[in-house]
């Protein structure tokens, strides 16, 4: 069975938000981690909080960061993009810090968090995800700057004034 060929990148079909194009995949993977980290945190905290409180609170923190990144990347306006940069940065710092901490001080982590061992329990996706997130947001920040230079009267919200976009 053949699938329809993607239309050429015309004005109507080019990616017009952080949630389209590669962002579609990024938001999907973020949503997946938001779901799994939240579910994990809820189950851990509700059923056996005393067993590994630090690990479970970090799971909950990771869940909040993933939810924030998912929602802001899906919205994609300038304010949301700023919050997304912050969430992805915190996420990256969190993976590195918790990953290192979990290797040095195993006693604090009798049970794993999403970020334990740099996300080794999740195929290291938690380690690379914020990097792709930040690269994608930088791409959008640059694009917004270019647009302001070419169309000085366009505001951040004036998505209608976009210049043709071919770099994807």
């Amino acid at each position: 069975m053949s699938e329809p060929t993607a239309p050429p990148e015309t004005a109507a079909s080019r990616p017009d938000s952080t949630r389209t194009g590669p962002g579609r995949l990024l938001v999907a993977v973020y949503a997946l981690f938001a779901l799994s980290a939240s579910a994990r945190a809820v189950v851990q905290i509700a059923t056996k909080f005393g067993h590994a409180p630090v690990a479970y609170l970090l799971s909950a923190f990771a869940a909040v960061v993933y939810i924030l990144a998912t929602v802001t990347l899906a919205i994609g306006n300038p304010t949301a993009r700023r919050i997304a940069v912050l969430s992805c940065s915190v996420e990256f710092a969190g993976v590195l810090a918790v990953g290192t901490w979990s290797l040095i001080d195993r006693a604090t982590f009798p049970d794993a968090t999403v970020w334990s061992g740099y996300g080794s329990g999740y195929g290291f996706v938690p380690l690379v995800l914020p990097v792709f997130g930040l690269l994608w947001l930088r791409h959008w920040a640059r694009r917004a700057r270019t647009r302001r230079v070419i169309v000085p009267q366009a505001t951040d919200a004036g998505e209608a004034a976009e210049i043709p976009h071919t770099s994807l």
């Binding site: 053949s2 699938e3 993607a6 389209t20 579609r24 995949l25 938001v27 999907a28 997946l32 509700a46």
Partner: protein, 121 residues
């Protein structure tokens, strides 16, 4: 429980991921073929959920019951959401979303076995 259904889901999930990634490589967007394949995966997951629920009802109890119930809720949602989200995309990145759903289904089977070894793979 024999491992026929989980094993079939792993094979189907990986096959779907391969098919979807091929569509991404060929610069195709989501079409009927991918959605049908995703539907087949969804049906297999629903069959497995039926088998697991039947086992729970007849008295089987895994150690991590709460986690298992979370998986039973999440499992059928993933392909549906991936299908909707992927079909909204008018570029090669739509099939990439569906590839994730296929990989997730395969990984979930391994995790299910860890939660409840009675679910063989």
């Amino acid at each position: 429980m024999n491992g026929a259904v989980p094993t079939t889901i792993i094979v189907a999930g990986l096959a779907l991921a391969g098919y979807a990634l091929l569509m991404t490589a060929l610069n195709r967007r989501v079409g009927l073929g991918l959605l049908v394949a995703l539907g087949v995966l969804e049906i297999l997951l629903l069959v497995l959920i039926g088998i697991i629920v039947a086992r729970l009802v007849t008295g089987g109890r895994p150690a991590g019951l709460a986690t298992l119930i979370g998986y039973l809720i999440a499992m059928p949602i993933v392909p549906v959401v991936a299908g909707l989200w992927g079909a909204m995309e008018r570029s090669r990145w739509g099939p990439a979303v569906i590839a994730v759903a296929g990989l997730v289904a395969a990984v979930l089977m391994v995790r299910l076995h860890e939660i409840w070894p009675a679910i063989r793979v």
